[in-house]
Subunit: 331 residues, 2 copies
Amino acid sequence: MKLKQLGEFGLIEKIRGTTPRGLGVLLGIGDDAAWLKTQKGSVLVTSDLLIEKVHFDLRWISFYDLGYKTLSANISDLAAMGGVPTYLVLSLGIPVDFNAEDVEEFYHGIRKLASECEVALVGGDTVASDRFFIGAFLMGHAPYSPITRSGAKEGDDLYVTGTLGDSALGLDLLKRTRGRTKSGELAYLMSRHSTPTARLKAGTLLAKEKLAKAMIDISDGLLQDLGHLCRASGVGAEVWQDLLPLSQAYQKYSGRKASLYALTGGENYELLFSLRMRDRGRLKKIERRLGVPITRIGKFVPAPQGIQVVDHQGKILPLPHGGFDHFRKSS
Amino acid sequence: MKLKQLGEFGLIEKIRGTTPRGLGVLLGIGDDAAWLKTQKGSVLVTSDLLIEKVHFDLRWISFYDLGYKTLSANISDLAAMGGVPTYLVLSLGIPVDFNAEDVEEFYHGIRKLASECEVALVGGDTVASDRFFIGAFLMGHAPYSPITRSGAKEGDDLYVTGTLGDSALGLDLLKRTRGRTKSGELAYLMSRHSTPTARLKAGTLLAKEKLAKAMIDISDGLLQDLGHLCRASGVGAEVWQDLLPLSQAYQKYSGRKASLYALTGGENYELLFSLRMRDRGRLKKIERRLGVPITRIGKFVPAPQGIQVVDHQGKILPLPHGGFDHFRKSS
């Protein structure tokens, strides 16, 4: 059924009918505002705006995956603070000739991850628009002191969770195969783009153990997000290119793009963090509990040095262009 | 300066630099998430999505007014729960050829009302888009038990704050004068459209005194919003057309549109609420403290009767079409 037949309130009723109430939700979808329990006297809030053709292309991603990914990207922002997600508010701009079934598929993707992470969908808004777009607001709570971007010091180690570049390469593959998913290693790379996993457990554990002193998730690309962290902390950083963690599949298929995507590929959703050198032993000990490999990929240096990528001989490599600024055209 | 010259991060820096930190903000704009104090172990959350040419037209409204109005509309949703606004997250889709100054004007309008109501701007997102659009997410706290839409009973009185139809008529006038503001009564009507006032004080007081049993703000039009309230409460309603409160300016200039706009005009941001008959005396007593006229305009009846508009002889009048459904074309 087309949305123009179902109508806005019909759609809201459908969404409402299939949305479980959720933990802590005193009043959910359907009133002027949602009313929600909070913990420890504070909340964490993050938001994301995703537009068709800018942030995603429905030729390469299904509605279900897009829903899943939307929530995952926002959970990743909370994970980067050491927080835990709780409530989601979702606003959608939807072309009137979309099928209601597609929008429901989108919500299924949202709901899949939401139920895994105990996130409740508590409200939102839907309006007609030329392009599909998504405004997501995710709330969470902070079981431990949140980790900001500003706690890195000169001399700290630079660590990253998981592997780099998979998502960017996965998108390449999706484009090349026109969205048809493959099996095996290719499927792995594609899924890293379509249904990425936020490092929620790692984020909370690093906060609990007070190991990460500054942390950010990689959404715009390693170098760009490292830049945000360095500016907030007032330091520079040296990145050791040869130590960047790359998945087997990535090594096999990335070819000439290997270092480019690892350094600048966005939507990676790994966590980048600083660690005091004295905490290396403690980090090692809890690495298994983190549930994800963590790799030392550089160190923080004085601010005037900026960000440098060096090879194993210490030679400074040219910085690749990349990362995402929405108002600038890439050259 | 065009936005494509300033860039996304340049814009964020500008906004951040001119945003005061705000009460209760433990961590504001510029990290992966904002960290915010909450009161009484709960929060109220509302959101709104506004798109150029659908919800507003930059020919009739200035960037400053649009900012003011965006926040006002969201405050109105919290007021309708008896809540108090605290934190705003704002996501903007902005055409790349917009002037940065216009976007700053928009933020000035936001900030004007935000400082009046002690709302802190705590985060958001900006992306390039074809049309200007605004995703607002407003949090608040509930000093008293929130008033939902579902508490109205058969036999209750139906009340409304302020006057009806001014905003719709104001928009008509703005279109006719091509956005040039007038003085006197015309200016009043236009301002009711461009910089509406949310009934914040009335909302909280009605909650504090436990007078309103069900409440909603009029954003889609009296009849449509009354419909939402009736459905949620499982009742019907009778509206007395001759008692609808109309401003002097409205009576003078509305002409043939008088009852149409009063019944269906959107963006009115008055509060519509149910009152037990036994509370009439108590309501009368605190009317002056409410800071706004309140008028009894009907009563709640059994659900099967639906919503009826009647004249002073009790004659049922034909229901006008109107109110807003975003996925349906108006006939």
